[in-house]
Symmetry: C2
Subunit: 339 residues, 2 copies
């Protein structure tokens, strides 16, 4: 019997096909081979991007900005969805509302090496990615026009990446998106009723139940959410209550987080054959950094199924892989040492 399950945060229902107990046959679609030609994100091609706004250069002063010698580099997007210059000019057009597309759109180049990916990078290199997210967020939030910084990664063409070279993106927005509001409001409603954080309650229940916990270290838990929308959807949450991604860097500079993400990606690589995927950092908006009712986390979505008319029309998802089954498969493989 299929099952309907409700996400406890935003009242989103999903259909889980709990009866398919056999091993899932999902294997990532084979991507087209990388395009030939110069890669603008490779070391040596720094002139092909706008000037960098942040870089990690282990050589220190021996390495000039916009020259090789970096291990991570952040540059403005050459084709930005939003522009940094100008005023918002909010206005009504009859019953409609519009404003200028003011914002920032940056690319975090995660490695100088073209063939490397987060699947294969070591924990220290993944840690650098999180450090870059934090540094850029702090810098951009000095601009009071920005209300929310969305950090996300598209890996593979199926997941929306237009470049092969490993990178993630950041978009600074002048408004808080509705999806973020929904989560914040969901958390707030639960808090009003229970005086507890819904995410903290989820963590407590999952720790006791155990059937959806894929991995944990001293500071983070990776789990298959009860109402997972997609096969092998995984969330990584800090064990302690922290509303903002920024605050989590204070303890260990994101080392434990990098460890957890690294383990999950290596497991996905092994079980699902290096699938295309997206991840998104869900964090509190700029003016709600330490609220008791929101709990930041990462949502990782391997792109194994297609969304279609039913999902667009209803906001309802059909997930053919029960999260308990995904957990079993992911738990039983150990990530390979090193790569």
């Amino acid at each position: 019997m299929p099952e309907l399950r409700k996400d406890p945060i935003i009242d989103r229902w999903v259909i889980i096909s709990t009866e398919r107990a056999q091993r899932p046959v999902f294997l990532a679609e084979q991507e087209a081979p990388p395009k030939a030609g110069l890669c603008p994100l490779c070391a040596g091609n720094e002139a092909m991007t706008p000037p960098e706004v942040f870089a990690i250069r282990p050589g220190g002063a021996s390495s000039e900005p916009n020259t090789p010698g970096w291990t991570l580099r952040v540059v403005p997007n050459k084709f930005p969805a939003l522009r940094i210059e100008g005023a918002l000019n909010k206005e009504g057009v009859g019953l409609y509302d519009r404003m200028n597309g003011i914002g920032a759109h940056e690319v975090i180049v995660e490695t100088p090496l073209h063939g490397q990916t987060l699947y294969t990078m070591d924990v220290a290199s993944v840690q650098n990615v999180f450090i870059a997210y934090k540094e850029r967020t702090i810098d951009l939030l000095r601009d009071k026009r920005f209300k929310f910084i969305m950090i996300f990664k598209n890996h593979g063409g199926v997941a929306g990446a237009s470049l092969d070279h490993a990178h993630s993106q950041l978009i600074a927005l002048p408004i808080v998106p509705r999806r973020v509001f929904e989560e914040i409001n969901g958390g707030l409603n639960y808090y009003k009723y229970k005086d507890r954080c819904v995410f903290c309650d989820i963590l407590a229940q999952e720790a006791e139940d155990g059937s959806r916990v894929i991995y944990e270290n001293e500071a983070y838990v990776a789990l298959s959410p009860f109402a997972a929308r997609f096969p092998f959807e995984t969330w990584i949450l800090p064990k302690n209550h922290v509303a903002s991604f920024l605050a989590s860097g204070n303890e260990d500079n994101y080392y434990a987080l990098a460890d957890a993400l690294s383990v999950i990606l290596k497991k996905n690589n092994k079980v699902l054959n290096a699938p295309p995927y997206n991840y998104m950092i869900h964090t509190s908006p700029a003016d709600l950094t330490s609220v008791p009712y929101y709990h930041w986390h990462i949502e990782i979505i391997p792109r194994l199924t297609k969304t279609a008319g039913f999902e667009w029309g209803t906001g309802f998802y059909i997930n053919p892989t029960p999260p308990e089954l995904a957990t079993t498969f992911l738990r039983e493989v150990s990530p390979p040492e090193g790569a």
Copy 2:
């Protein structure tokens, strides 16, 4: 300068790249060739599907159920997302909520001919599709467990179709999905404030403005919505206020609706090279069939872009084709006569 626009019904913002004034380069991805082998939806293969629950058979009594002679046929889905038998058994699991996956999942086979599609069918055949939607909805709503009937179409593998043969689908749900609730609530909030239907106000403003109206006949308007999420997204709405899809059949048995959908699909075919697409019928739930604050409509989404991490994380869309530009391109092509 890119522009941020807000959907007036559900407060969804989109980023519209209004500056790209050149002709869009979208051409539909070429789909893989149809799979070889017997098609379970073709005339003559009726035994390959569960027994039909509805059919249009012009031959009348000379054609037995589950034999050839039909022009349209509705069958239960062989691999249903939800099951018709059983009780809901709603229950809590700690802080989570679940119920059994009770519902109906049917396939509307739109033509007996394998090569035919809604792009090429005549208006009378498209009209039959809407008549089938209505008949099946009325029948399923006799079952009081069902609160909402979602009718949708996935055309092409990119849009989620797993069979080539032209078909649409219907899922009867035991709950009203949140996406539907959002629209209903958005309409209700507007109505409380203005004492008017927001969709009727949109129609009035669009008729006066004219820059986003693609086509109209005596009863329907097809327009590019002001805050379109996707390139060439098109909505078809009845000109008069009607909350429920079912009620619109009373006047002309959906002939004018079939004309409008047919014209839009033929235009999409010509401008966008027969793209994969989804459409969804947005209608009021079973117990709100004649409310003054909701207005049923069809949303048609050609699948030309990929949704990625930003959209998943924010519910915010980036649309590279301004709706006014899409309107211009679609308006200037006339659908070919006949096919």
